[in-house]
Symmetry: C2
Subunit: 207 residues, 2 copies
Amino acid sequence: MVTSRWTAAPARSASLRRRGEVLERAILEAALDQLSTVGWNGLTMEGVAAGAQTGKAAVYRRWPSKEDLVADALQASLPRMESVPDRGSVREDLLDLCRQSRDAMFSRPGNALRAVIHECDPQQVERFHGLIIGAVVEPMTRAVREIVTRGIERGEVRADAANGYVYDAIPAMMMYRTKMCTSEWNDRDLEELIDHLMLPLLRPDAG
Amino acid sequence: MVTSRWTAAPARSASLRRRGEVLERAILEAALDQLSTVGWNGLTMEGVAAGAQTGKAAVYRRWPSKEDLVADALQASLPRMESVPDRGSVREDLLDLCRQSRDAMFSRPGNALRAVIHECDPQQVERFHGLIIGAVVEPMTRAVREIVTRGIERGEVRADAANGYVYDAIPAMMMYRTKMCTSEWNDRDLEELIDHLMLPLLRPDAG
C-alpha cells in the first residue's frame, strides 16, 4: 500500500550542500503542513519559515515564489509508483495499479495538490496540473502499456489492444469521474472500472 | 453540421415582456463579442452595454453580475444536439455523435466557454464547468445510452455493455485528450476513438 512519504528529492536539489538538506526538508514539510491547515490562500512564506523554525530569507533564497515552494513540496511528497504490478493476470495487475494511483491521488499531498489547483490563480493552474501528469498519469499509462504487452504475450489480451486509447482509458475515466461526481474510487468502484471497461476492451476475439 | 447559432433561450427569459427580447439578444450577442475580442478579463458591463447600444442600467437590471451575464450568453448560444443519430450502425451513430459534440466544443461559444474557464476566478469555475456538463456531456451520455440500446437490440452490441462506464467512455476520453495534448479532434481522431476504443468495447462475445 502506498502511503504519503518522502521520496528522493528531484535532481535540482542533489547539487546543494549536504548540510542544507535537513533545513530544506523542514521547509518543505512546513509548506505541506500549511497547505493542510490554511490552504493555498492562507499559506505565506513567513508562515512556512516559522513552521520550519527558520528565517524568511532561508526560504526565499531557495524558492523565489510561493508557487515554486508549493510545487516542490508537493513534487517531493507525492507517493511514487513502485514497480509495475506483475501478479500473473491482467485483471489483478490493473486492479493493483488502480489502487496505487487512487492511493496517490487521495494521499495527503494528493489532496493538497487538488485543493491548490482549485484555489490558485488561473495562470498557476497549468504548473500544478503538470505535477499530476508527471507523478500520476504518465506512470500509469506506461504501466498499462507494460501490463497490456505482457497480456498480449500470454494470449490474455487481443493483439490490437496495443494503442494509446487503451493506455489512456483508465486515467481518462478516473479523472472524469473524480471531477463529474466527486467519485472517491473505493475498491468496489475500481473493480467495476476494470470489469466493465477494461476487460471487455482487452479480451481476445473468438477463435 | 452544427454551427454556432441562436437556440431557444432558457425558460427564465420566456416570462419577460416580448419587447425586451430584442434588447436582450443584443446584449447577449455583445457579451459574446466582447469575449471573443477582449476575453473574460477585458469584458465589462459598460463595454457590453455600449456594444448593445444601450445603457449600463439595462444590463444590470437583467444580469446582476458579469458571471450571470456571461453564463447566460454562453448557455444561449452553445450549439445544441439535434436528434440522436440513427444511421443504422453503431459505428456511424457514434461517429456522428462525436462530430456534433466536437463541433459544439470548438464552436465560437464553445471556445469562448473554455477560455472563460481558463481565465476566471477559482470560485466561478464550477458554474461555467456546469455549462459544459449540461450542454455537451449529459446530452452525449444520454445519446450513447440510446445508441448502445439500439445496438443491443440489433445484436450489434453485447448485452452487458449497458452500463455507465461504457456511456461515459467517450466524453471521458474527449475531455482527457483535449486537456492532456490539446487535441482538437479532427475527423481522423474521432474515427480512431471509435474504432480503437468503442467498437472493441461494444462488440458481442463469440458465439
